[in-house]
Amino acid sequence: MGKQISNTLTSLFLRFFAANFNHRKALNRYLRSADGWIDFTFGVKTENGSVAQALIFKGGKVRVTGRMPAKPDAMLVFKDEQALKEAAVEPPNKLMIALMENRMLTLGNLGHLQVINFYLSLLLKPIQIAKLKKETRAENRHYDVDKASKTCIDSRKLPQLRTETQEDPGVLFLDDPYLPDMGLDDFPRLKTFLTLHFKTKPALCHERPDILTRWFRENGFETDRDGSPHVPELRQARAFKYLMEHKKPRIRENDLIAGTTTPQEIGVVLYPDAHGTMIWGELLTAPHRPLNPYEISADTVEALHTRIFPFWLNRNFREWVRSTKGNPTCQQLDERFAACFLWKTVALSHTILHYPKILALGTSGIRADIEKERTNTPDSSDEKNHLLEAMEICLSGIEAYAKNLATEAERLAAQEPDPLRKAELQHLAAICRRVPENPCATLDEAVNALWIIWIGVHMENTNAGFSLGRLDQWLQPYFKADMERCETPEARKAYIRHAVELIGCFFMRCTDHLPLIPDIGNHLFGGSSSDQAITLGGVTPKGEDAVNDMTYIFLKVTEMLGIRDPNVNARYSREKNSRTYLRRLCEVNVNTLSTPSIHHDEAVMESLAEFDYPAEHLRDWSATGCVEPTLSGRHIGHTNCMMFNMVAALEMALNNGRHPLMRWNLGPQTGSVANGDFTDFESFFNAFAEQLRFLAGLTCQYNNYLGEAHQALRPTPYISALMEGPLHKGKDVTQGGAVYNSSGTACIGLADITDSMMAIRKLVFEEKKVTFAELWTAVNGNFEHHPGLLALIKTKVPLFGSGDAEALAMANRVAKLAHDIFAEQTNYRGGRYTAGFWSMSNHVAFGTLTGALPSGRLAGKAFTPGLTPEPHASKNILSNLRDVAGLDPKNMNNNIAFNVKVVPAPGESHERTVDTLTSYAKAYCDMGGMQMQLNVVSSETLKDAMIHPENHQNLMVRISGYNAYFVSLNRNMQTELVERAEFGR
C-alpha cells in the first residue's frame, strides 16, 4: 500500500509541475530555446519498480504519464521511496550529491537531467534558496568579505632569513637571492590586486560559449553550410579565430599585463562541449550555495538556457560516447562516482606548451616553420594539410586578439590623466603591437606574450590543469638581457624591483579565471582552482644547475602573495642544487604555510626511466596540474586523465566482485570470504589484483572512448601549433601528434590498501588472531560490535609509515601492481598509461563512498591524502619520511603527493623552524624520496578557521597536489585536514 501511495504522490507532484509549466507564461517560455521547443522525455522510478512515472515535453506542453516510455531521453532511478521523497524538495545541488552517494542513479543524457533540475528550480526557487541560506548560516560561511580580505592580508607575518652563503652559479644579479628587504608593502599595485582576489565573488561568464555557439549556429557543427562534413580541426580553428577576434579586449585597471581570460574580474569559464551543461540545473541556486558561490546575472541565465546550452545537449564528450558507443559499462561506472572520475569528460589538458620556442620565434616564426614544412613535404596527406592550415588560422586568431589589446591600450592611454599610468599604457600598446607575433626582446614582452598565449589556451580548451612550466628557465634570458642594459647599480636595483612586480602581476593575472565547479565538484575537488603549475629549479636540459635569478624572483612573489594558483612546484636536484636554494624553498613553505611542493629531481627522472626519453628532454620536465611530470613542450601526457579509486577493487575482492555501495555485481567472481574461499594471503591478494585489473581495464576503455570524443568534437589545433610534434607528424595533439604521448592516472588509497592487507595477513593468516570471516563481519558492521578487534588492529598491525619493513614492502607491492596494470594498457594516441599516487581531494570523496576497511578505517571516513601514511602509523615524522622515501620511484611514474603537516613549537625561532624543515627535506631526498608537500599549520588554527572563517580567508593548505583556501573547503575535507598527523613537539 505504501508503494501505491508513493507512486500516487510522485504522479501528483509531477502533475503540479506540468500544470505550472503549461499554464504560467513566465515558466512556459523556458520550454523553448533559440532553436525551438526543447522536446524530450524524462522518467522517474524506484529500483523495485514501486514508482514509475514519466514527463513528456513536446511542443511547449508538459504531460505526465504512468506508462514509462520504452526509452526515455533521461531517467532517474531511486534506491527506494525514501530517496525519492528526499529528492523532491532538495535544491538541485543536493540531487547531484544523492547521485554521487548512489542513493539514485541516472540513465540517459545527463544534460536532460540538468534541464529538469533547472525547471524544478524555477518552480521551487524560494524554498531551495531558503534551504541553502540556512545551510550557509549553519556552517558560518557568511561574513563581511571586504573586511576579511583586508584583515587576512594585513595580519600576515613574513619573517625573512638572509642568505648565509652565495652558492648558486646561475644567480648573476641578486646580491641576496632571498630578497629579504622586499615586502608586499613595497608594491601597492599588487596589494590592491590581492585584496580584489580575496573579496571578489567569481562570476559565471558566458562570453566564450556565446561567441562560439554563434559561429557554430552560423557555420554548422557536424556539417558546414553546404552540408559537407566539417574537418574537425579546421572547424575548431575557424571558430577559435572568430572567438579571439570578437572577444572583448580588456586591460585591468593599473595592470602591467594586458588581456583577461573573461570580461569579469574573476570569471568562471564555460565549456558546454565538455561539462558546461552540468551547471544548468544550478543557475538559479549557485549564487546562494554555501561553498564557493557564483555571481550569475539574469543575462547569463537567459543566454545559457535559451541560446547556448540547448545547442550542446548532445554535443559534448559524455553524450558523444553514450550515443556512439551505446552507453558502455565503463561510462556507467564513471557516472556512479564510487570507483573513478574521468577528467576527459571535462578536458584533455594537463600539458606544457613549448614556451621557449614561442617566445623566441613569435607566432610569425612558427608560421614560417609551417610554411617551410609545407614546402618540404608537398605530398602530405589531407589530414596533415588540414592541420597545418588549422594551426595557421589559430595563430592569426591570437594575433588578432593581441592587436585588439593594443588598440584598447591606446584608447585607455588617450583618456588617462595620470602621466605615469599613461606611459605604462602606451608601453603596453607597443608591446601588444609586437608580441606574441614577433620574437620577444624584453622581460615585459615575454611576460605579456606568455599571458596572451595563455588566454588562447583557455579559449580553446578547458581550464583544468594546463600548466605553465619552467618559467624561471624560460624568462631568465630576457631578464638577463634587460639587466645587462641597465647601466648603474640604482638602475639594476630598480629593475629587479620591476621584475618582482611584473611577475607578481602575472601571478595575479593567473587568478582571473576559475574552472566551472558544479556543487558536486565542491565535494569532489573542493576549493580547487585550475591548477596552473609553475616549475622552478632543478637542472637544465644539459644537466647543469638550473637555479637562477628568476627562480628566486618567483619564490619571492610566491611568498609575498601566498595565493593558491599558480601552483608552484620546485625541483630540487641533490646533485646540482644548493642547500641555500633548498632552505629558501622551506622558508617560503613556512611563510605561505603550504607552497611550493618539493620534488627530488633525480627520483622523478628515475621514475620515468622506463620510457627511455632522451636525456635533454627528460631533464626538461615540468610539474603539471598537481605534481605530475610532463616533458615540457613536446609531451601530451594528460597526466590527470582519471582519479582511480583502488579501494573499490579491495571492496570488490572482499565481496566476490560486488561493490557494496553501488549495489552492483560488477567485477569477476574472485572468491567469497564468508565461504572460506581464501586459504592463504596470496589467494586474497590475487583476488584484489584481478579486481584492480578489471576496473583499470574499464576506466582505460572509457578514457580511450572520451579521447575519440575529443578528436571528433574538440581537436586543439592552437595547442598543436604551440608544441613540438604535430608540425612534422601532421596530426593534431588529440590524435597523437605530440612527440611523446601517455595518459596519467591518480591511483588513490595506497596507504589504506597497504594497511588493510597488513591487517589481513598479520591477524588472519599469520597470527590467526581472528578468522577472515570474523574480520569480514566486523568490517561489514563498521566494527560497531567489535571494539576489541578494532583496537587490536589499530595497535598491533604495523602500518605503512611506521618504519616497519614488511609494511613498506607491501606498499611497494601494491604500487607495483597498479603500475604494472596500467602499463599493460595503451591509450587512443598510442601511448602508455602511467600510475601516480596523489589524490587531489578525491581521497575524501571516495572515502565517503566506501565502507569500513580491514585497516580499521571506518565507513565514510576519508582515505589518507595521496600516499600519505595513516596519522596513527607513527608517533614521529621520521618514520613517515623514511617509509615514503623507501617507495620505489619506478612504480610511480606519474608522481606522488606526500603530505607532511609540521607545527613549529611555540616560541621556536623562524630560523630554527626553517632549518629543521630543510634537514627533513634534505634527508628525505638523500634517502630517495620523490616529492613532499608541507602544511605548516596546527590543527588548532584549522579548527579556529572552521569557526571563524572571517579571520582566515587566505589560510592556504595543501590538499593532495594542489593548494586551496581552507575556508573554501567542505566540512569533510576540513575535518580530514584537521585529523592529519601533526608532527611537532
Binding site: 571494539p787 576489541g788 578487534l789 578494532l790 583496537a791 587490536l792 589499530k794 595497535t795 598491533k796 618504519g803 608517533k875 614521529n876 615524522i877 621520521l878 618514520s879 619520511l881 623514511r882 613549537a905 630554527r912 632549518d915 629543521t916 630543510t918 634537514s919 627533513y920 634534505k922 634527508a923 638523500d926 634517502m927 608532527f983 613537539r985
Partner: protein, 313 residues
C-alpha cells in the same frame, strides 16, 4: 638495584625526531632507573630500574579480556588507578591480551644491537641537521658498561652523542667508560642546599657538585660541551636563594653558559599510569605551566653573575 639490572637495563622508549635534547634532530634513548628520586620527576616511570605495568584509561576499550586473565584479581574498574599494585605480581598476562595498548609493560630489555637497529635508519636526519643521539632517562650512568658499549657503537657509526645526566655517578668509572665516547653532556644541577637536595631528590648533592667540577676541568680541554641545566620547579628549585646560590657556584667556576628549563606539569598524568605516589597532585603551582615571568626572573639573576642562559635544545 641488582647487578643484573645494571648489565642489561630496561629501555623506556627511543624517541625519534627530538628537537629539544641537544643540537639538530636527535633520537633520545630513555633508560629506566635513576639513583635520585626527585619528587617532581618528569618521567616517573623511569625512577625504578625494574619492570612495571602502566595503564592508560584513555586507550581502554573495556573488552574485559585482562580482568578475565589476571590470576591475582588485581584489575578492577572500581580501583582508582585500575591496577591494584599491592596484588599485582607483574606476570604480564594482562598486557599480552590487551588489544588496545591500554595496559602496557613499562620498559623493554634491549641489547646494544637492538637499539642501534632502531636508531640507524634515522642517521640521514642527524647528518642533515647536525643532530645525533642523546642518552637520557632515568640515568644512563646507572648502567655504565652498557652505556659505554652503546656510545662506542654510536661513535663507530660517526654519530654525535650527548648524555643527559643527574651527575650522581662514580667518577672514575665514568671517566674510563663513558666520558671518552660522549661529545656533549647536559648536566643537571638542581638544588644547592645539600639538605634540601636530600629532601627533594633523595641524596645529598656533594658528589654531584664534585663530579661537575672535575668534568669542567677536562671538558674544555677535550673539546666536549658541558652544559649545566636547572629545571625550574615551583618553590623548590626556582627560589631566589637557590638560583642565586647556583649562579654563585657557577660563576666561581667561571662558567658563562647555562640552561634553565621552564616547568612542565605533564608528569602528573604519567604518575597515575604507573601508580607512583604523587604528593603534588593537587598543588596549584605544581600542576600549571609556568608563565614566562619565572624564567625571566631567574635569567636575570644569572645574567647578574655574567652567565648567559642558553636554549638547551
Amino acid at each position: 638495584m641488582t647487578d643484573e639490572a645494571q648489565k642489561t637495563p630496561l629501555v623506556l622508549e627511543i624517541k625519534g625526531n627530538s628537537l629539544d635534547d641537544g643540537p639538530g634532530i636527535r633520537s633520545v634513548v630513555f633508560f629506566k632507573g635513576c639513583p635520585l628520586s626527585c619528587v617532581w620527576c618528569h618521567n616517573p616511570e623511569s625512577r625504578k630500574a625494574g619492570p612495571e605495568i602502566a595503564f592508560d584509561g584513555k586507550l581502554c576499550v573495556d573488552c574485559g579480556e585482562c580482568r578475565k586473565i589476571c590470576p591475582e584479581k588485581a584489575l578492577s574498574k572500581t580501583h582508582p588507578l585500575y591496577v591494584d599494585r599491592t596484588r599485582c605480581t607483574l606476570c604480564f598476562l594482562c598486557t599480552n591480551v590487551c588489544p588496545s595498548g591500554a595496559l602496557e609493560p613499562v620498559g623493554k630489555s634491549m641489547t646494544v644491537d637492538a637499539i642501534m637497529n632502531k636508531i640507524l635508519p634515522d642517521k640521514p636526519f642527524y647528518d642533515t641537521s647536525g643532530g645525533g643521539v642523546t642518552l637520557s632517562g632515568g640515568e644512563a650512568t646507572l648502567f655504565m658498561d652498557f652505556a659505554s658499549d652503546l656510545l662506542k657503537a654510536l661513535k663507530h657509526e660517526g654519530i654525535h652523542t650527548l648524555l643527559e645526566t643527574c651527575g650522581s655517578f662514580d667518577l672514575t668509572r665514568f671517566m674510563a667508560q663513558v666520558y671518552p665516547h660522549v661529545d656533549a653532556m647536559y648536566y643537571d644541577l638542581k638544588i644547592m642546599d645539600s639538605r634540601k637536595h636530600q629532601q627533594f631528590c633523595g641524596l645529598p648533592n656533594s658528589r654531584i657538585l664534585e663530579n661537575f667540577k672535575a668534568l669542567l676541568k677536562t671538558a674544555a680541554r677535550d673539546g666536549k660541551v658541558l652544559l649545566p641545566r636547572t629545571p625550574l620547579i615551583p618553590g623548590i628549585t626556582d627560589t631566589e636563594d637557590n638560583i642565586r646560590a647556583l649562579a654563585e657556584f657557577l660563576s666561581a667556576l667561571s662558567v658563562t653558559r647555562a640552561a634553565l628549563l621552564a616547568y612542565n606539569p605533564l608528569w602528573h598524568e604519567k604518575s597515575d599510569k604507573v601508580g607512583v605516589d604523587d604528593p603534588y597532585k593537587k598543588d596549584k603551582a605544581m600542576t600549571s605551566f609556568s608563565d614566562g615571568g619565572v624564567l625571566e626572573r631567574c635569567q636575570s639573576i644569572y645574567q647578574d653573575y655574567g652567565i648567559s642562559v642558553v636554549n638547551a635544545g
